[in-house]
């Protein structure tokens, strides 16, 4: 089986508390994987290590054949690993549209530089507007595009997290409790968005959730984490 991301022997302690003990997991390209576990089992710590927010005490993380254990969050995003946060941290002074544009700048800059090298007139304002408006439309935020992020509802904040994460056309999405505490409509829309990204763009994802039915409906494989160890693996 091809492997997109793999982790081997991931161990992490905070002081005397051992949170993760020798975690090993892998995600194949385009594979939807779930991560289930009770509170305090180490799910968020594992997600933080896989996304580059935390360094493990021991173990390695590989992505696309390269070791990325010490690569920071922003560099992993540019490689194609995007993550969302359990509690969104919006930009208070930016509008929804500006917040999406921030996430698009690295990819658009690369596109503009490549177009400039090819001398085909790329990198114009139209090139920048298209992907921004496309993401806003896909995530259902187009009508709120000029609203300050600080005024968004919880559902819209989660949609914005999705838009931000999808901006880099990720190969792997790491989603930390992104579908919890939402209205049925918001949850349904975001689930469909996730399925579409997986189906149409081949985006693999690692979805962390407390909700087994939701994991079963979205994931092909579910990993169960207890007391810092993966104790079971189920294929759906």
């Amino acid at each position: 089986m091809n492997t997109l991301m793999s982790a081997e022997g991931i161990t992490k302690s905070f002081g005397a508390t051992k949170v993760l003990s020798g975690i090993a997991l892998s995600v194949a390209p385009g594979e939807p994987v779930g991560l289930f576990g009770p509170n305090g089992s180490g799910k968020t710590t594992l997600v933080n290590i896989l996304s580059g927010l935390l360094l493990p005490d021991a173990g390695t993380v590989r992505f696309d054949g390269k070791e990325i254990t010490r690569l920071p969050l922003d560099a992993r995003y540019r490689l194609g690993i995007a993550r969302t946060f359990q509690i969104p941290h919006p930009y208070p002074a930016l509008s929804v549209r500006e917040a999406v544009r921030v996430a698009l700048v690295p990819r658009l800059t690369t596109l503009a530089v490549n177009a400039w090298k090819r001398k085909d007139g790329g990198g114009t304002r139209e090139d920048e507007e298209g992907p921004t408006e496309d993401l806003l439309a896909r995530t259902g935020l187009f009508d709120q595009r000029f609203v300050p992020c600080a005024q968004l509802s919880q559902g819209c904040l989660r949609r914005l997290e999705f838009a931000r994460a999808l901006a880099c056309r990720p190969k792997l999405l790491i989603l930390d409790e992104v579908l919890s505490a939402l209205s049925a409509a918001d949850e349904g829309d975001l689930m469909e968005l996730l399925r579409a990204a997986n189906r149409d763009e081949g985006t693999a994802f690692l979805l962390v959730s407390h909700n087994p039915p939701l994991l079963k409906s979205l994931c092909r494989r579910i990993l169960v984490l207890e007391e810092g160890r993966i104790v079971r693996e189920r294929t759906v």
Binding site: A75, H89, S95, R101, A103, F146, C168, R169
Partner: protein
């Protein structure tokens, strides 16, 4: 190919929001009227003292706007912004007086030095956040100030006052520039520098800096290398502060230790708080108004410091986002 995917045509609607209010020309009418009045002011045959107060005010306004690039747009509260200002002032004086460099070359070198100083401050402060950035920049600024105050080469007798005796003179290719020419040169410099800073603040880099100021972790999770952008903010802000410092030393004729003082950094932060942080134009306008008001009253320096402190207190209490906003 991933990037070749066709975009969906979104249904255009303005429901739920208003068009962006961050046009660089927002409030342009008031600004144009203000600039027009300032252009006409010397025609009313004012006292040379008032022309000098306004000229200094324009240079301080550019300095305040440059503080806003760092402290407002990118949210890195600096209390050592006088360091690039003073470094440029001293290098301009040293290069023209001691090394005999032509003035344009010395000014360019001074601005470059200020940018390098800013890049250094940015590199040191990039891993820090919030009050620790303010403390680090305060410490760096005060080290430079104390070196200049304590070393007779940098600050001779009486080198503690704006334009007083002491300090290091700058070798100017002209003698006794008329107050009118100084006034107009400073006004043109202020307009050009402010326009340049506005362009930077409205660019993609400015947008990313505002994101870093609002939520560093979300910015980093959006692919932004935040340390690099913090360095960029300090470098650009310091380059403009250096340009203001070079302009200041050309106006007053000598670099003194006051050009590196905490009081100067504090003034810039006060102007930004009053004018509205992150707006660039607001701090510049506040600097002109407050400087002309307080300087025009011919108050002793200690009274002016007290007035600046009171202004800051009142603003933070009643207009936390700035008087204009």
């Amino acid at each position: 190919m991933r990037d070749a995917a066709p975009s969906r045509a979104p249904k255009v609607s303005l429901r739920g929001g208003t068009p962006p209010a961050r046009s660089p020309w927002r409030g342009g009418g008031w600004l144009a009227a203000g600039i027009g009045l300032l252009l006409l002011f010397p025609l009313s045959s004012p006292d040379a003292f008032f022309l000098d107060v306004f000229t200094t005010g324009f240079l301080l306004a550019a300095f305040a706007a440059s503080w806003d690039v760092v402290g407002g747009v990118s949210g890195q509260i600096t209390l050592g912004h006088a360091l690039p200002f003073g470094a440029a002032a001293y290098s301009c004086a040293l290069l023209t007086s001691f090394a005999g460099w032509p003035l344009p070359l010395a000014v360019a070198a001074a601005v470059l030095l200020a940018a390098v100083v800013g890049a250094g401050i940015g590199a040191l402060s990039a891993p820090l956040a919030g009050p620790f950035v303010a403390l680090l920049t305060l410490a760096l600024g005060e080290i430079a100030h104390e070196v200049a105050v304590g070393h007779t080469f940098f600050s001779g007798p009486g080198g503690y006052a704006w334009g007083g005796e002491g300090g290091i003179p700058v070798a100017l290719p002209w003698r006794d520039a008329s107050p009118f020419s100084s006034y107009y040169a400073a006004l043109v410099f202020l307009c050009l520098a402010t326009f340049g800073m506005l362009l930077f603040a409205r660019s993609n880099s400015g947008l990313i800096l505002r994101a870093v100021a609002g939520s560093p972790i979300t910015a980093q999770a959006s692919g932004v290398p935040i340390a690099r952008f913090k360095r960029l903010a300090f470098t650009v802000g310091s380059a403009f502060a250096g340009a203001a410092g070079a302009g200041f030393v050309l106006h007053v004729g000598r670099a003194t230790a006051t050009d590196l003082s905490l009081e100067l950094s504090f003034q810039a932060a006060t102007f930004a708080a009053v004018g509205g942080r992150g707006t660039i134009v607001g701090p510049a306008v506040a600097a002109i108004v407050l400087h002309v008001l307080f300087q025009g009253l011919s108050l002793p320096p200690s009274a002016r410091v007290l007035l600046y402190a009171l202004t800051l207190l009142v603003t933070l209490r009643f207009f936390p986002r700035g008087v204009a906003t």
